[in-house]
Amino acid sequence: MLTQRTPWQITRSVWYALYMRELLARVINNRFAWFWMVFEPLAFIAIMVAVRVVVFGREKVLINADFIPWLIVGLLSFFLFREQMIRLMGAVTANKALYAYRQVKPVDTVFVRSGLEGLLKTFVFSLFIVFGLLLAIPMWPQDWWVVLYAWLSLWALGFGIGLTLSVLATMVEEVGIIFRMLTLPLLLISGVIIPLTYLPHHLVEYLLYNPIVHGIETIRLGFYPDYHTVQGITMQYLWYWALSTTALGLILHLRFEAKLKTK
């Protein structure tokens, strides 16, 4: 006879076991994982800086913010969202073999992945800030709390959308393919590379329907409080999205748990 545990104890030990398993498999036993985690954004930044020099020349495009740190902050914030969405989408299928252990539920794998991915991205972001400062790039957050709040909000948004998609993409494979394709256009319309102030007003009005924009512009404001962004940036809108998609995702997981296990 095994020792009796409460449901909460079981859930906690499942999370811990899954977390250690993912961490070991993804980071410790994979020598190149760290390299790519840092190198991918680095390469992206290098390319974008090159593009900027070609397109804009030496002309100053931002008011009260330097282009390179502005780009680093935007890209890393966007990557946080993107990785949450993409990685969570694959979590249920990737851990399919584990549902033979009855206490592991599909939703657990999504929670654990979100936690691990978020922590890794946070670590990489801190690394960029530290190295940026060492290279005398002005990357010191002026308002720590705003930065932290916006970072966690983008995490929550990625989690909510990833949670919902983890069910949909497992049930209908095409959903996954479409959303993977959507990441590049999303990058372009989130104001990561092209400053929003550079775009005509009637276009910006539509871009503000995208919740990622609000998170990214807020985190930049945390770094550079005097930075000129567009009117209408509000975190409330982002949280509407984050909370409603999280609720929807949880409902879907509850409703389709049995289907997800055998899919």
Partner: protein
């Protein structure tokens, strides 16, 4: 004790929505080992998955009053980039409080008998070593009921004997529910039997009666005839393979002859 009440199960990938299991009512008493017999496709594995909670019934329910293992010898849950020890730790964390984890890992190591390879990644294992590890994992926990699907068929001969000896030692504290085509194993390890026939499940207190009922319905009066048929099928297959090889060689010869008309 395991109660199965008004259980219905079907899969929707057939043209006709016929029930794989239809209105199954069974009570498996504690400390009685049960063998599931029936022809291929009768639903033996399905019933086992439903009992183990890896699949959900369309109607009815399975009530488990005892702790149940996952299918013994299941190797799908092994993460191949992790070592045997790390995999053992993962499963132990799912089932026991953290303080008992080292204990379980020790038991797995002792039972698997794979020596230093226990600390190597599972992807370097041979299939025999993998099955030793999976067996060790299942037997390290004190479940009330172990479920197994043809599992005793994997591993080399000496190890198979060790596994069935380990099961026999657990008689009194634990019982088995197994699916196997080998009557030897069924008779050796089980007392009772369930014969699955056209969606119905019939309980026999004596495993020999269940096997006899199955053979009679299949048109074999005894095991020998079944064996002869199996042997005949095997030779037919071998003969067909040889025929194909011969015709392939003949084709090759004609091709070569056409290519070099004057040798």
């Amino acid at each position: 004790m395991i109660e199965i009440k008004n259980l219905y199960k079907r899969y929707h990938n057939h043209h006709a929505n016929s029930w794989v299991l239809e209105n199954v009512n069974l009570t498996i008493p504690p400390n009685v080992s049960v063998g599931l017999v029936g022809p291929n496709g009768a639903g033996k594995s399905t019933l086992l998955r439903l009992i183990g909670g890896m699949d959900t019934p369309d109607k009815g329910e399975v009530i488990r009053h005892s702790s149940l293992s996952w299918p013994v010898g299941l190797s799908g849950g092994l993460q191949t980039s992790l070592t045997g020890r790390e995999n053992a730790k993962f499963v132990a964390r799912l089932y026991v409080p953290e303080k008992d984890v080292p204990n379980i890992v020790k038991k797995v190591e002792d039972f698997a008998e794979i020596g230093a390879a226990f600390n190597d990644p599972v992807k370097t294992y041979s299939s025999g070593m993998k099955s030793r590890l999976s067996f060790g994992l299942s037997l390290a926990f004190d479940f009330d009921v172990y479920i197994s699907d043809e599992a005793t068929a994997v591993g080399d001969k000496a190890f198979k004997e060790k596994a069935s000896k380990a099961f026999k030692e657990k008689v009194g504290q634990a019982s088995l529910i197994i699916v196997s085509h080998s009557t030897g194993i069924l008779k050796e390890l089980c007392q009772a039997g369930i014969w699955l026939d056209q969606g119905k499940a019939i309980w026999y207190d004596d495993i020999n009666e269940a096997i006899e009922a199955y053979y009679q319905s299949a048109g074999f009066s005894d095991k020998k005839k079944l064996n002869y048929r199996r042997i005949a099928r095997k030779y037919k297959k071998m003969a067909n393979a040889q025929k194909q090889k011969i015709s392939a060689l003949q084709n090759q010869i004609t091709e070569l002859q056409e290519a070099n008309p004057n040798p």
